[in-house]
């Protein structure tokens, strides 16, 4: 068996239209060898189209794809060597489980005996030994999913593409499979390009990810970087809950940006590469878990006073809505039997300046 080498995959200025709809507009990113890379976005944002272009199942109107630095624009799907796990698995109903898994090996002219042996091994690895002679229709959803995985991995590929692989599974199985995929990625060492609309899946599994909206890439980065310092309001909102409100840049204080907000003058961390001129409209983003109650009365910068509008129990945390002037803040605080968040309570709140992110106000600037 040959040693597997992970591939790097690079997309350069990809564009694709379906009729009058721009499915992709000038999309570029690069996936490093061995990375677990996510394409994350709401349905209809073009992420599946992008994956299909990588696989050669769709041709881009312009732009190109490089695999290990080699331009594969003219390489048809069957010569790309990027096995894919399809959203609906696409297991051929006329072939047995074993034949499904051995298919790619046979296409690569692996002798029948060896193909069967390797397919059996691959099925063992996904815990499906003994099901070789079943037809796909006789398996459960989770089992079909693992056959689809085995069918791709049996080829010892340098990279695999996964199109919403867990979306057809129930919630419990999904969490299990997530762990399984993480282990699989770690043990195989190959590149995974993974499409999903589920931000929890992406945040928990990705080395890096690209957040997409309406055919564009809104941001690329590690889950932690994108979650804590999103470059724009779309990312902030798509990756989790966020308080976002307008502010005005008034100057700089070393690495920090000084902004004028409805609660006075605040210090904020600018989004990466964001350096607005003095007087520019910006957006200030704070995650609810970073809005902290003050025990004393509010004083100094990055504090505000507010009145509790409602408090909803989530279990380990509480979501508290706090009104201050025209604005309502959302704060997530730890459940505490001693703390009482009754409606109408007045209280001071603070936000660490590292947790207040200043980002561009307009979408156009945000997309860069």
């Amino acid at each position: 068996m040959k040693e597997t080498v992970a591939s790097s995959i690079e997309a350069k200025n990809l564009a694709k239209r379906f009729g009058s709809v721009a499915a992709l507009a000038d999309v570029s990113f690069d996936v490093k060898a061995g990375e677990m890379f996510f394409l994350l976005g709401p349905s209809g944002c073009g992420k599946t189209t992008l994956l299909r272009i990588l696989a050669g199942l769709e041709t881009a109107d312009s732009g190109t794809v490089l695999i290990n630095g080699r331009d594969v624009r003219d390489l048809p799907a069957h010569e790309r060597g990027l096995p894919m796990v399809f959203q609906n698995y696409a297991l051929w109903p006329h072939l047995t489980v074993l034949e499904n898994v051995a298919f790619g090996l046979r296409e690569r002219r692996v002798p029948r005996d060896e193909a069967v042996r390797r397919a059996r091994e691959a099925l063992e690895k996904v815990d499906l030994a003994g099901r070789e002679d079943r037809k796909p229709g006789q398996l459960s959803g989770g089992q079909q999913q693992r056959v689809a995985l085995a069918r791709a991995l049996v080829l010892n590929p340098a990279a695999v593409l996964l199109d919403e692989p867990l979306s057809n599974l129930d919630a419990k199985l999904r969490v299990e499979m997530r762990e399984y995929l993480a282990r699989l990625h770690a043990s195989s060492g190959i590149t995974f390009v993974y499409v999903t609309h589920d931000q929890v899946e992406a945040l928990s599994l990705a080395d890096r990810m690209a957040v997409m909206s309406a055919g564009r890439i809104m941001a690329v980065g590690s889950p932690a970087a994108l979650y804590h310092r999103p470059p724009n309001a779309f990312c902030a909102g798509f990756l989790g809950e966020a308080n976002i409100f307008p502010a005005r840049a008034v100057g700089r204080d070393g690495a920090w940006l000084v902004v004028e907000t409805h609660a006075g003058r605040w210090s904020a961390a600018p989004a990466e590469g964001f350096d607005p001129p003095s007087g520019a409209e910006v957006l200030l983003m704070v995650r609810p878990e970073n809005v902290r109650p003050l025990s004393g009365s509010p004083a100094g910068a990055n504090v505000f006073k507010g009145r509790v509008v409602s408090a909803r129990m989530n279990g380990s945390t509480l979501t508290v809505l706090v009104a201050t002037g025209e604005t309502t803040w959302k704060a997530t605080v730890l459940s505490d039997p001693l703390a009482e968040w009754r409606e109408g309570r007045e209280c001071g709140w603070m936000v660490d300046r590292a947790h207040a992110v200043a980002m561009p106000a307009s979408e156009k600037e945000a997309a860069r």
């Binding site: 696989a55 050669g56 199942l57 041709t59 003219d74 048809p76 799907a77 069957h78 010569e79 790309r80 060597g81 990027l82 096995p83 894919m84 399809f86 609906n88 696409a90 297991l91 051929w92 109903p93 006329h94 298919f103 790619g104 296409e107 690569r108 069918r151 791709a152 080829l155």
Partner: protein, 568 residues
Amino acid sequence: MRIPVGRIAAAGAVAAFLSIFLLWPLAHVAVRAASDAHGPTLFYLKGVFANPVHLEAALNSFRIACWVTAMCALVSLPLAWLFASRSFAGKSLLAGLLLTPMILPPFVSAVGIKMVLAREGSLSILLMRLGLADAPVDWLGACPLLGIVALEVLHLFPIMYLNLAAALANIDPSLEEAAANLGAGPWSVFRRITLPLAGPGLFAGMALVFVWSFTELGTPLVFGVRRVLPVLIYDKVGEVGTNPAGYALVVFVLAISAGGFWTGKALTRRSREVATLGRMSVSRQEKRLSALGSIAAWLGVGLLLVLAIIPHFSVIGLAFNRKWFLSVLPHGPTLEFFGRAVDNPLTRSAMLNSLGLSLAATVLDMLVGFGIAWFCVRGRFRGADLLDALAMLPLAVPGLVIAFGYLGCFGGLFRETPFLSGILDPRRNPMFLLAVSYSIRRLPYMVRAAHAGLEQVSRTYEEAAANLGASPIRVIRRVTIPLLGANLVAGGILCFAFSMLEVSDSLILAQVEEHYPLTKAIYTLMESLENGTNVAAALGVWAMAFLGAALLWAAALMGRRMGQMFRA
């Protein structure tokens, strides 16, 4: 962008095949009808209308076609409604039996039914025995067109029924339920909702039946009715090279049948937007008939089936009995004619010819039909729809016209190269062109069958195969064809079966006994030898058994999708 050489070559081959063997003969016929040795002229086309014999024949043919179409619709509508919306004991058995009329070409039925309707035939004798008539009545002589219409209705109504049943099955039941919910009674729902929504199926079936009955050659020939257009054209085959008058008649037939066909299509298009409204939200629930209703259904359908099967029985009667004269039923049982049907050098070569020709036509159809369907559903290139439209053209073009065109186009072609003319010149050897004409005639069914299959097979299966390294041709071989195997086989069986019983091209193109296919042998036998009719009937029974088995097999493979193959 890599150029898909194989794909372009395959599409080119299909386009060339259709151009040479379908478009060229049609163009040839049109040109020859409008010109003679002195150049272009409308003399012969006008001549069609000047000759009172032609006019009478045209009127007769038109009358036959209209009656057959109307009667088929009348019979099929209640039938399709019953089978689509009601369930009762033995329903699937009856549904299967409804296809039996198709297993016998009407011109063979005609041989048998002549014995029933003739002056000294079963019906007259029966009526006299019962004291309902004083003297024998010559039913066929009194109203010669009636026999033709009756036989063709009994033969063709299943095609209309299948079209309608498929259309009814596609109607979202919630549309009918909404009408009932708003206060419409069952009859009102049928008239105001169901019937308009089933319009496309109805018109498509009517279009098919109209063209078929307008150009039916065998039945009038057997009944000795000469004054219909197909027979007039058949009589002109001898002067193909010399007299443009035959071509003019062919163009006339083509114009009327194509006109009838496209009227049906246009009506279909108009109502299509209505029919595709909404996705199925509820699955169709069949209402169970009461005991009384079930009995009524059995009686109604049973009566129709008995009528439809009389011709079959009369043919069987002829085949197994020595005498059928001045008696209600045939007598003198014998297997002699069966032996003669197999022993006779003419019948033996005819059977072998037909088997070989049909096999060749089927293989050709499967290749071309799958190709066209694939280009339309999967190929994603401009011009695929044009190929599809071309492939459907034979539904509007009578076999008669194609055969006539072949005689004109290929007759005397390649005189200098005996090898080529030995293959292509129908006067030297019609076998190649017979196979081609059979396949062209049945191509629409094959395309429809493959089309339906491809649309049901998710494209993802093919993408997954390509993704794992299968080249396009390997994808088709390992995934596409296995997945729609049942459709391809069913389409192939139908092509084969109908090719075995193809009448008009066989009668026109085969001129020497050694080249006769089954149908022409049956026709020749009827006219010739002593007891020839009986031997012809015996041969017909063989054909019937054969086609019946084929249809059952195809229906088993296609299941409920059977109707899709007879779509216009």
